[in-house]
Subunit: 233 residues, 2 copies
């Protein structure tokens, strides 16, 4: 299968969509991917997953987060990002600052991503995002009824707002946890999983640190999860 | 596919094996299932999984645990089982007594199950067991090099001996946790997962109490897990 990569903007926000070259008329469910902190919408991990989703019957889209990818530098975000990196380097407590940052960015990304769904006319949507993609994904999935299933992870309930948004999520969730995550305290990850309001939710924990490559069998699992919840029977 | 169910004994211990009726000469990997407390080797949950494993390319076997199924009542075990049930009913702390009981039973089941593998001439073996099947499975998988992958769960590290045996396990492990388990404290389950010495181990947590039916997608996952680790590439 050849995959077509199409760059576009919605309200000035740069996005990319992956579709099969030989697309038939049958509508495919869409997977919206949220990239990680410091990443571009075509980061290798995003591209790898997007291609896998397309070869598995979906289309995929990713949108540059403010202050990322092809978007202009935003001094306000840049300042916090610098502070976050300084805390990573010094080993200081990171989670509350990360949560504050992600809540601020989500005020922008939730309506931006909704506008992208409007633009594409998507009905059946899955969301995939870990780390920053989880921090922004939780409020997005909570707010957006077109999202019918979500793979989230590498994030925690550091702030009461995170747990409150998670409690509003009722669609099936597959939640990834890196057992040796040095950035997100394990108990905060478990608290976020606990907070999801979904009747069907599964926690998948694997050995590894925050930035380690996720096991390939988790991508297999994500494909099956989205297939189960988004594909017509 | 028709499935052949064959009852047999090894050293007087009753066991059952499931194979396809139209078996070819190619050897199939074996999945040894450990049944739950109070269950028979053909309990509905065991039978359901055994059939699924056989239709997925494996053979399956289950052995009656002492004081269970077609084995005679053992007063020593019966006494502890009665005490366990009394604690369940009264809500008293259960885990240390369960751990003590399972360690005692495992002294018998480890050599019995090894004798069954000898009898069947099995080389590539997977182990599946939750609850009592986990308590007996951990020391078995730790002791038996023919087991190359194990699905365990609904058990915890209530006793130092459990964690010590878990640390000796180095084969891939898929570990199931019921998020609302009222019998095994969550932190003891997480401690058992943490203790496994395996480089590849995955924790799967789902909502539900100890005795609730496990999600069907976990059986799908177990099939893929065993396929990945036991089937020739």
């Amino acid at each position: 299968m050849h995959i077509h990569e199409e760059f576009f903007t919605v309200g000035g926000v740069p996005a990319v969509r992956w579709t099969p070259d030989d697309d038939t008329t049958a509508p495919r469910p869409l997977i919206l991917l949220g990239h990680g902190g410091g990443q571009h919408k075509t980061a290798p991990g995003i591209l790898h997953r997007a291609h896998r989703f397309v070869t598995s019957g979906f289309t995929a889209v990713c949108v540059d987060v403010p202050n990322h990818g092809d978007r202009p530098t935003d001094d306000r975000y840049q300042h916090i990002a610098t502070e976050i990196q300084a805390r990573v380097d010094s080993g200081d407590e990171l989670a509350p600052l990360l949560a504050e940052f992600q809540a601020l960015v989500a005020e922008q990304t939730v309506p931006e991503w909704q506008a992208v769904l409007d633009h594409l006319g998507s009905e059946a949507v899955g969301y995939w995002g870990v780390s920053l993609g989880c921090g922004l994904g939780v409020p997005f999935v909570a707010a957006e009824p077109r999202v019918r299933a979500a793979v989230l992870g590498l994030g925690g309930a550091a702030a009461p707002a995170s747990a409150a948004a998670a409690a509003q999520i009722t669609v099936p969730v597959e939640f990834l946890l890196q057992w040796d995550d040095e950035r997100v305290p394990r108990e905060q990850s478990l608290a976020l999983f606990d907070a999801f309001g979904s009747a069907e939710k599964t926690l998948h924990a694997n050995p590894g640190r925050h930035g380690d490559r996720l096991p390939e069998h988790e991508l297999d699992s994500a494909v099956r999860f989205f297939t189960r919840h988004l594909m017509p029977r």
